[in-house]
Amino acid sequence: MSIRGRMRYSIDTCPICGGGLCTIYFCEGTDSVPPHGLIVCDECEAIWLQPDVSSPHCFPDAESADCPVCRQPLYEHAHPANQNDVDDLGWTNAINTELTMESEI
């Protein structure tokens, strides 16, 4: 699904690979797991559960990435968060405005 033209809210550059943007994702969750936020590096796919890249991180499976919280397919159940999503997550203060941009894909 193309999200070209939508804003991508990022909090930092990736401390793991050095080339990625750590972008806020909003995951829909499941019946038993409420919606939640993730930080995902758009290069190495490192994932943080908090909007803080100094907190623990993990990596999804290389070929079938699942959300580490609800175990649903990551890129089907989660999407780069829009402004409302970020507000709902309460992560607005974590946004780095210099790293926030319109999506080019």
Partner: protein
């Protein structure tokens, strides 16, 4: 006598000209690395053909790099993806050096993710490494970088929860730094490749 005088003057002129040329060549050789470093240009060494790389040309392999390559790619490129990758099962490709390109990433396939690094994204925040020469060249450079990394040639390595991160100095220009920051700095050249791998699966690769 007159003829001998003319010959002597001619010899002297030739010697002076040779001296001037030698000084110019010496000076050029001395300042060339500094100019390349400062400007991101890729001035050729003395006696070396021009190595200007057109980043928009998807078929051209940088001459300076291709001279050093040891990859045994099928020269005809028949039945190979981008002339280098062999499809080993549906949608899964193996490179000559042994890297695996599989489905994955938000783009759906690692090759599609890699394609992002064959063109600049001037609006992207921060840096964005771009390979010269499009997908075929990028894949060959990555394969050579992987071979160098495995052999420990000009490579730094770190591991993190099963991911291996190599930074390989290729010793010559392999691309440039784009994105907002790269464009602010007038797209400086890149000669290092960062590889992020999961075993032999490529997660991402980009010039630095």
């Amino acid at each position: 006598m007159q003829l001998m005088g003319r010959r002597r003057r001619g010899k002297k002129t030739t010697t002076t000209a040779a001296l001037v040329v030698a000084i110019l060549i010496g000076g050029y050789s001395l300042i060339r690395p500094a100019v390349n470093e400062a400007t991101g240009w890729n001035l050729p060494a003395v006696g070396q053909a021009s190595q200007t790389i057109e980043s928009e040309d998807s078929t051209r392999v940088p001459q300076s790099w291709s001279r050093n390559t040891t990859i045994d790619a099928n020269p005809s490129g028949a039945d190979l993806q981008y002339g280098i990758l062999k499809e080993i099962s549906p949608n899964r490709y193996r490179s000559p050096a042994g890297l695996l390109y599989t489905p994955g990433s938000s783009e759906g396939h690692r090759l599609e993710h890699l394609r992002r690094h064959t063109a600049d994204m001037p609006g992207r925040s921060g840096k964005h490494g771009v390979f010269d020469g499009g997908m075929p060249t990028a894949l060959q450079v990555i394969d050579q970088a992987y071979q160098n990394a495995v052999a420990g040639i000009r490579t730094t390595e770190s591991t993190d929860q099963g991911r291996t991160i190599y930074t390989v100095d290729m010793g010559t220009r392999i691309g440039f730094i784009g994105g907002r920051e790269g464009n602010r700095r007038r797209k400086p050249m890149a000669r290092r490749v960062r590889l992020v791998l999961d075993g032999d699966r490529l997660i991402t690769a980009f010039p630095m």
